[in-house]
Assembly symmetry: C2
Homo-oligomer: 197 residues x 2
């Protein structure tokens, strides 16, 4: 039978995204069977990450020191800046290992319904960077959803007068995808952005 | 982009059952966005549960004090003992709120292939309880799988000479179940154990 401490642990685990009541209970029981030292290390990993992972003052990416790993890498091209919504998006972009420019994390997307206006996300610091850091191209890589598109359009309009080249990531059929399973809007975008071969 | 502390956290989360690499990363990022105080309380919940939840010296159920909540409840009937595999099975049995007897947790099931013999699970303490505690009925509630059935049969054979009443939980169609989706063995058991209405 459960004890108050097991219930307490299950309740806390249940508050994590994607962890339902049953999964939380199962995980709580599993924790009881783990070596005590491992449980302590898991607990430390939680607190250490939360306390010591900060945001890069320049681009907003995760960092444990001052500038993040991308900003402090002298081999990266500082004239290209890729704008993303969250710091975790930087990790997704870096997975392709091809992009050699820098990043700018907005920390959200414009969403008037949720009260998120231009002053609530890091748009002003982006304009400042474009003005001061010799940026030649800004790649808008916000998600292709309503908020992401609106945010990209808003930033593009602000940046146009500065003369910087503003680009948007391409929409189309995913590699390995199948026409049958691609939604109509993506298909329309894929036709619209067709290229001569 | 990920930092060493984020990767460390994701690796530890990934070691939990049912938490894959992607889920672990998603959870790690979520932890970074949680209030620091909540992360500390989650970490404490882990360590507190692991360090302070013990096994009841009488029945093997989870407890935070001496005897567990069931054993120390004077309203329970000490003449009936339900034998289950794990301490977590007690929680599952207690959910039905109908059973008023006590429990005995084996801490495993017989499994010669895995080197688990009668001396590796709490069979001797069960025999001792039956001999000393005035037990009138032992309900064998191990799982209806190969090991569970073998363990139940083994214990039944040991208990028979003591004259105690030994019963096995019933097999049959789950309530709300559909004949179409019930496996043949369960169906066979359901026919075999049919009752006059």
């Amino acid at each position: 039978m459960s004890t108050p401490l097991i219930d307490n642990l299950a309740n806390w685990l249940n508050r994590l995204p994607g962890i339902g009541v049953k999964t939380a209970q199962r995980l709580a029981y599993h924790v009881l069977s783990m070596p005590e030292e491992d449980v302590r290390r898991l607990a430390s990993a939680l607190v250490d990450a939360r306390e010591n992972v900060k945001y890069c003052p320049r681009c907003g990416n995760f960092t444990e020191g001052e500038l993040c790993a991308v900003c402090s890498d002298a081999k990266r091209d500082p004239t290209v800046v890729c704008v993303v919504r969250d710091a975790r998006d930087v990790a997704f972009m870096e997975r392709m290992r091809e992009y050699r420019g820098l990043y700018h994390v907005l920390g959200g997307t414009l969403s008037p319904m949720d009260g998120v206006g231009p002053e609530n996300i890091r748009i002003a610091p982006l304009l400042e960077r474009v003005g001061n850091e010799g940026v030649k191209e800004v790649i808008l890589a916000t998600n292709p959803d309503v908020e992401g598109e609106a945010t990209a359009a808003y930033i593009a309009r602000l940046l146009k007068p500065t003369g910087v080249c503003v680009t948007r990531i391409a929409h189309g059929i995913p590699i390995g995808g199948n026409l049958e399973y691609v939604d109509e809007i993506t298909l329309f975008k894929a036709i619209e952005n067709r290229r001569e071969v």
